[in-house]
Symmetry: C2
Subunit: 370 residues, 2 copies
């Protein structure tokens, strides 16, 4: 269909980011390319997940996504930052006000640590990746990856992609050897910038041509896919549309929030990771925005600050505690307003591609009808 599809030997130029192996396998097994968001997993867990994906994706290729540290000088693994007493007190008070229970004492839950902000272990994780030949794409979630990563990936015959919210970031990544750019507009879930997909994508496409650019942010239907391709995309990068699927491992409570939310119920907040991150608006994001609240700490400190709170909130929401449900949030883009029911991932992908083809044919028809 497109150059990028030929490059990977896939049918459709649709890339699907998910933290859930079931979504990755479903998309890669249906002609797209699933990308496994691996930042919160240990190397041992990644081994298990990739083995599972290999067995369930009908031989389709897939990718993996890491939050490599944005700069080589960033603190390595395990370097927990100092967290101001004011911030600790604010979080404790917030959970208290919403009646979120403590972890049961002496359990694994109490001892767990949040690994999503701990920029480490990716060397070991990448060794796992390179033992999985179908994992054809290594993605850097936060921009230009460390140079060693690019060289090694290429030596292993893998392609490397990097997300970009500005043309100059994309140019820097291409100079560092990155093969594919993901241009992500402000409407996207998770970490993104302030310029929308409609405006950003053509600028990135022009800045790095002929490097292929996947268009991300606001893409969850065939019409949006056609729009992204019109903007110069070699393909599309999707994420939020897989949150409300049968394959998603989000809690039923979070899925419920997503299928009932409209597009106005997401917000860019620094309160989760320290960088602007679009999430479903909740009592958590509101509390950090309120007058008199402390400013979120920078990345990675904010992540360390809130990791336990996030897990306690999810736990409370699974118990259907009112306070936990009010605070509960997760990264999601503005397209969640389009999601009104739980669907099968393979069905979503095929419907999207069918609508895309119809949309392009309709555009051509309207042109000729002149």
């Amino acid at each position: 269909m497109t150059d990028i599809a030929r490059l990977f030997g896939i049918e459709f130029p649709v890339f699907a980011f998910s933290h859930c192996r079931d979504v990755v396998a479903a998309v890669s097994g249906t002609g797209g390319l699933g990308v496994f968001g691996a930042s919160v997993f240990t190397p041992e867990e990644i081994e298990i997940e990739l083995d599972w994906i290999d067995r369930h994706s009908h031989g389709g290729p897939y990718g993996i996504d890491f939050a490599f540290p944005p700069r080589a000088t960033d603190s390595g693994p395990g370097a927990e930052p100092d967290l101001p007493a004011q911030h600790r007190a604010f979080v404790a008070d917030l959970l208290n006000r919403y009646g979120v229970a403590e972890f049961p004492a002496g359990t694994d839950e109490e001892r767990a640590t949040y690994r999503g902000v701990d920029f480490g272990d990716y060397d070991e994780a990448l060794e796992v990746v390179y033992r999985h030949p179908n994992c054809r794409l290594v993605v850097s979630a936060l921009g230009t990856p460390p140079s060693g990563v690019v060289e090694r990936a290429h030596a292993e015959g893998r392609l490397v992609a990097a997300l970009a919210g500005k043309p100059e970031h994309a140019v820097r990544s291409v100079a560092a050897g990155v093969d594919i750019i993901v241009a992500q507009g402000s409407e996207a879930g998770g970490h993104a910038g302030s310029v929308s997909t409609m405006v950003l994508a053509p600028q990135v496409v022009d800045a790095v041509a002929p490097t292929p650019v996947l268009v991300a942010g606001g893409i969850a239907s065939g019409r949006q896919m056609a729009a992204a391709m019109a903007l110069g995309g070699a393909g599309v990068w999707t994420g939020s549309m897989w949150l409300a699927t049968e394959e998603s491992d989000l809690s039923p409570e979070m899925v419920q929030k997503i299928v009932t939310a409209d597009s106005w119920q997401t917000v860019q907040t620094r309160s989760i990771t320290g960088k602007p991150c679009r999430v479903v608006r909740s009592a958590w994001s509101d509390a950090w925005e309120a007058e008199g609240s402390p400013k979120p700490l920078p990345m990675p400190a904010q992540g360390f600050l809130v990791e336990d709170a996030m897990r306690r909130i999810e736990r409370a929401s699974r118990d259907r505690d009112t306070g936990g449900l009010e605070l509960l949030t997760c990264p999601a883009g503005q397209v969640i307003g389009q999601l009104t029911k739980v669907s099968k991932a393979s069905r979503l992908l095929l419907d999207m591609v069918e609508e895309y083809i119809e949309c392009v044919e309709d555009l051509e028809r309207r042109l000729v009808a002149e």
Copy 2:
């Protein structure tokens, strides 16, 4: 080319909003449809401007755009609101800090009043419109127009359009008899909401089908036009792309800011009109965002508060005073990052349409090459 083009007897489904009659005439005379932003003009001035457009648009149809009061209960013309002393002092201090000169005493400049926030006289202005048969479209900039306006326009054989930043606003406008919806994403210049064009447009299209929807926000090239049409647009609504044209009546200083700005140098601020309005970021918008600054007043009070300041800043910037240049701003969308030189409006329109056609043909080619 499209239904909407046939409806108006125009060649291209491109609508061009501008406060400048030269831009309106150039677009309407080249096969598009110019829309004259008339809110800051008196009925007498509108008569002069429309007569001029009639003489310079080669018989092409055009439209007119008013900021009708969003609700019938809003205060009528001339009802100047109370302005808090704190806010008056903040504005005075800001101009003082940047050394912006007072108006020359006893001149017309000193006596002028800002009519953009004075929701009045539009009955009389519309009578002027109805004496101009080529003014085929009446547009409501702030949402559903007053019902009397729709009835009268239809009786006069004119079509009515209304801007919408949410599907429910579009539905309300269609219920009020509006013929065409302009779905405006958050990247747009001027008053807009928080959801991007990519996400908003399909929702509005579906909500009001089969009512035609013009897609606005982030549209300034043929690729963006193709994307907008893919999202279900019956046509496109453009604005910022006409700011840096030979026909624009912006000051050379403001045009210079626009052609040098990138897409990250706009900001949604309530500091101009009281409603979120995307403008070129400047010392003015920064000052209102700074910690400790007063919150902008609601519309129309903020407009009354800052009207003299805006005129004094423009005056100072035309004199090339440093402070005035730093404070100077105007409404503009994120697409200004694409504008790098001053172009002829007719050339911009034809280039856009040519790129749009190539883009659609390329989309179709890529599909068939599968």
